[in-house]
């Protein structure tokens, strides 16, 4: 029986057409399919058609390698842990950024109107220009590492925005005035005129 089977395999290798059932039998039977492999290998060797390194049982090696591989259920997200601080900021900023943009847009509109009125009625109110000028910087919340303020009303948000812009503007003005003092040592004895002092500094008594 088994002799006959090996014969079938042999004839199958030699391209002698046999019944479909015997092919199925060969595939199902491990011993027979191994024999099929061996016969093919013998044929390859006789035809001098073998690769330099013989991988006699590649499939078994691959299967073993897959078995050795540890099962990864959920990959660890190390990157996320590293960036949690940053991500926190972004999440934090998003809603606030929207409020701030809305607030600054409102600020621009309101002051734009005011400024137009001022221009019509009065010659100089140069300070009012500040808000309409994007160069002063619409301070945009970028990082906000601290406690989130409780829901600010739109008006409060606007007032706060204005306060922060006032600080930013004053800081920039003060830096320009600072130059005088750092250069004071080199100061030439030219007479000094003080026509604009009050406007620049707005000094209280």
């Amino acid at each position: 029986m088994s002799e006959k089977k090996f014969e079938t395999v042999s004839s199958f290798v030699d391209d002698v057409i046999i019944h479909d059932e015997s092919i199925d039998e060969i595939i199902k039977d491990k011993e027979l399919s191994d024999t099929w492999g061996r016969y093919q290998l013998i044929g390859d060797i006789m035809r001098d058609d073998v690769p330099q390194t013989l991988q006699l049982d590649l499939s078994a090696k691959i299967a073993a390698a897959i078995d050795d591989e540890p099962t990864v259920l959920a990959p660890k997200n190390t990157a996320k842990i590293e960036n949690s601080f940053k991500a926190g900021i972004i999440n934090f900023v998003k809603p606030l950024g929207q409020v701030a943009i809305a607030a600054s847009a409102a600020g621009l509109m309101v002051l734009g109107v005011q400024q137009n009125n001022v221009v019509q009625t009065n010659d100089i109110a140069p300070m009012q220009n500040i808000q309409t000028n994007p160069l002063i910087g619409i301070a945009e919340p970028v990082s906000f590492n601290y406690q989130q303020p409780t829901q600010m009303s739109k008006k409060q948000a606007y007032i706060q925005q204005r306060r922060l812009q006032a600080l930013l503007f004053d800081h920039k003005q003060q830096i320009k005035l600072t130059a005088i003092n750092t250069a004071e040592t080199k100061k030439a004895n030219t007479p000094v005129i003080i026509p604009l002092k009050d406007k620049v500094e707005n000094l209280p008594k």
Binding site: P126, Q131, S143, R163, V200, N202, P204
Partner: protein
């Protein structure tokens, strides 16, 4: 024997390091020399908050050795800074034109110290040479100016291999996030003064304003107890913010590269949570604690701003202790 090899290796690596630092600082002094002595016409853009601001910048030295300089913003209302040797004029939409007596144009996108004594920054910063790159079609040397502590931002400069001129600059956080960038888009050196500077030569400058001594160093009731190393008080006074008319005590500090303003005033509310917003690299910190509002403005990280604000105390109270 092994120790000897160790020492030898250490010393060579050490000398390589010092050589690198020396190289970086010689690049920086070459930069300030170029900014002071060459005639140039340049254009650059400042990139911050997702938009770009274009500028023209001219610099030249006339026959008598006096420096002339124009820095103008090209978009929006006119915003020019003019300099004739020791007079710097500001033309801005907010104020009538005025001049101050100084040798440096302050408040511009490029730190004034770059054309001054840039090596003095060594106290608070390390200079590191980072290799080469290509900027504005030229081969550029990258130099980093890194704070020695964690309380400041870092700067990265791209300098022209030939002229040592600034080609690009970034202000970056410790984490490497770019907050503000200056990118040159045009650079031309000339033997003659650039045309706009010839016009400036014959132009009249706005009147010079004086800052009275009383506004320079007032005795204040409040004291800032903590600042990052290297920051010195430039001046203090009592003035009103021009926009909100809020009267406030004011202190200005600088480490040469970074200016930090501290504002202290009474608030109508008892408490307001800290808030920190940024415009490019310039942060504005504001909080109210026990009815006292403290604000800190400058190109510093939020943590530094908060530490400065938290360190503010009543001076008299401080003295009693």
């Amino acid at each position: 024997m092994r120790i000897l090899i160790c020492v030898l290796m250490l010393s060579t690596s050490f000398s390589a390091l010092t050589a690198e630092i020396e190289q970086a600082s010689s690049w920086l002094s070459a930069l300030s020399q170029t900014l002071k002595t060459r005639n140039f016409s340049t254009s650059f853009v400042v990139i911050k908050n997702n938009h770009a601001e274009p500028y023209h910048w001219f610099h030249g030295v006339d026959e008598t050795g006096k420096e002339l300089e124009i820095l103008s913003l090209l978009n929006g209302p006119r915003r020019d800074v003019l300099r004739k040797n020791n007079i710097v004029s500001y033309i801005e939409p907010e104020l009538p034109p005025y001049s101050v007596e100084t040798f440096q144009m302050s408040g511009g996108p490029i730190p004034a110290i770059f054309s001054g004594d840039i090596i003095a920054l060594e106290k608070g910063y390390n200079f590191i040479s980072l290799g080469k790159s290509r900027v504005l079609g030229r081969s550029a040397q990258i130099i980093r100016i890194v704070s020695k502590d964690n309380n400041r931002f870092g700067y990265r400069l791209w300098l022209d291999q030939d002229s040592s001129m600034l080609l690009k600059m970034s202000v970056i956080t410790r984490e490497g996030k770019v907050l503000e960038q200056v990118q040159f888009t045009h650079l031309e050196f000339s033997t003659d003064l650039p045309e706009p500077l010839k016009k400036l030569q014959v132009a009249d400058m706005p009147p010079v304003i004086d800052v009275p001594e009383s506004t320079v160093n007032n005795d204040l009731r409040w004291k800032v107890n903590w600042l990052p190393n290297g920051f010195k008080k430039i001046r203090s006074n009592y003035h009103r913010l021009s926009i909100t008319k809020q009267a406030t005590e004011f202190l200005l500090f600088s480490d040469g590269l970074v200016d930090v303003s501290v504002y202290i005033n009474k608030s109508s509310v008892k408490h307001r949570a800290p808030e920190f917003v940024m415009n490019g690299a310039t942060g504005v910190f504001n909080q109210v604690v026990n009815g006292i509002e403290v604000s800190v403005v400058g190109k510093i990280p939020s943590t530094t701003a908060k530490s400065i604000a938290d360190s503010v105390s009543l001076l008299s109270f401080h003295k009693k202790r």
